[in-house]
């Protein structure tokens, strides 16, 4: 009973007015906590943890790299969920949230790729290697670009929401397929990985190997990035809702005048 009531309460936020009111109330909390977490995590990580005995100070880039990479993938998952909600229940806020999240995902993917390259240059001796994980992130970046471009290209907002939602669903299947294809491709290309490639440390690997000294500031950074992402999505969705209202008001004015 109470769970059903709570589930119903969640759908109330499909009402743009209710969504705006609540998101404005909670936004300051998300901004403050996320920025505090990121500042604390980065300062702790940069200045109060020792250098790695092999990697030196370059190890500290994981405080940006890992959270950004995590959010890049989770952002796509969130877009997938909101696209499904839009297709099934036709809540405009849901479609606008997916639209609002996509550019954030692009930036997160770029941060992950760039910090990875900056770390890779001294560590692997190259800015870029066609390692499976790097390659799949590049493909994810292309998917984001196509998704945003489709949103921008279509004028009618409902058609755009429908088409991008279907693209998001189909794209997700192909993104997963590409992930496994790329894994296969690289093994097929480089059997008996060279030393450099064996050191091509993946995000999951670093997490497993990271010692506690590095882990706590990293955890704080991850929490900070998650909250920052939520804050940005709420903020940008609010902007999208207002932009649409302005458009409706202008249209009404034109008709009236």
């Amino acid at each position: 009973m109470s769970i059903a009531a709570k589930a119903n309460a969640l759908w109330e936020y499909a009402n743009p007015r209710k969504f705006l009111a609540t998101s404005e109330r909670v936004l300051p909390f998300f901004w403050i906590v996320s920025i505090t977490c990121i500042v604390v995590g980065l300062v702790w990580g940069f200045f109060f943890t020792p250098d790695d005995y092999k990697q030196g100070s370059t190890v500290k880039i994981i405080y940006l790299h890992v959270p950004a990479a995590l959010m890049a993938i989770n952002c796509w998952l969130m877009m997938l969920a909101t696209s499904l909600v839009w297709l099934v229940r036709r809540h405009h806020v849901s479609a606008l949230a997916a639209r609002a999240a996509a550019p954030i995902g692009i930036v997160m993917t770029l941060i992950a790729l760039l910090t990875g390259a900056i770390w890779g240059q001294p560590m692997w001796g190259t800015w870029w290697a066609w390692d499976p994980r790097l390659t799949s992130f590049l493909i994810l970046f292309l998917f984001y670009l196509g998704y945003v471009a489709l949103w921008e290209a279509i004028e009618d907002p409902d058609t755009a929401a429908d088409l991008t939602s279907v693209l998001c669903l189909v794209g997700s299947v192909f993104a997963i397929l590409s992930r496994y294809a790329v894994n296969f491709w690289n093994q097929g290309l480089h059997q008996g990985a060279s030393v450099m490639r064996a050191g091509a440390v993946t995000g999951a690997d670093t997490e497993e190997k990271v010692s506690n000294i590095f882990f706590y500031p990293l955890l704080i950074c991850i929490i900070g990035f998650v909250l920052l992402f939520i804050a940005l999505v709420l903020y940008r969705t609010g902007t999208e809702i207002r932009a649409r209202r302005i458009k409706a008001l202008l249209a009404r004015e034109r008709v009236g005048g």
């Binding site: 493909i139 292309l142 998917f143 670009l145 196509g146 471009a149 489709l150 290209a153 279509i154 058609t159 429908d162 088409l163 279907v166 693209l167 669903l169 189909v170 794209g171 192909f174 993104a175 397929l177 590409s178 496994y180 294809a181 790329v182 296969f184 491709w185 097929g188």
Partner: protein, 218 residues
Amino acid sequence: MIALLLRDLKLAFRAGGGFGLGLAFFLIVTVMIPFAVGPQSSLLSTIAPGVLWLGALLACLLSLDRLLALDWEDGSLDLLATAPLPLESVVTIKALAHWLTTGLPLVLAAPFFGVLLNLPVPGFFWLVISLLIGTPAMSVIGTFGAALTVGLKRGGLLLSLLVLPLYVPTLIFGAEVARRGATGMEVQTPLLMLAGITAATIALLPFASATVLRINLR
């Protein structure tokens, strides 16, 4: 269904239908490659399987924006949507017609272009097989992309941006089959994966294409 297929084929073969353009594009890409990377035959034979696959893929991509756009412009797409034939069948037939007029000629021409790029002898067979299995997937995926962008005025470039990431798995496994075949390695795994992708896209993607087309025709 057969009438629709024949109609599409006729439209493609007659003047202005653009039949052969893809093939000509494939030829030009193949001719340009040695100018770009140098004429050493050992280098060419190493990159030949991948380059031929990429050339076929781009040639396929080139013809996609005509796939539905012409029917959209003259309104016949609206008629097809209201016809008793389900829209899923319509898009499947469209994809089949695209494959017969673009994919199949590319498959048949590929061995001749392979000669130009000094493809190793065992590679010819596997190149043709991999293209034969892979090009239907390209047509079906391309139909989805064409259905997505059909209502847009300048959808051509956007279509490429949307479709190319979807081509990644097909390209990886297809080119892998051709490359392994050319070097005499075992090809079974990528071949099965390629066939699996083609079968799955043919079975499932027409539903997505039809959904998208209905949204665009709304």
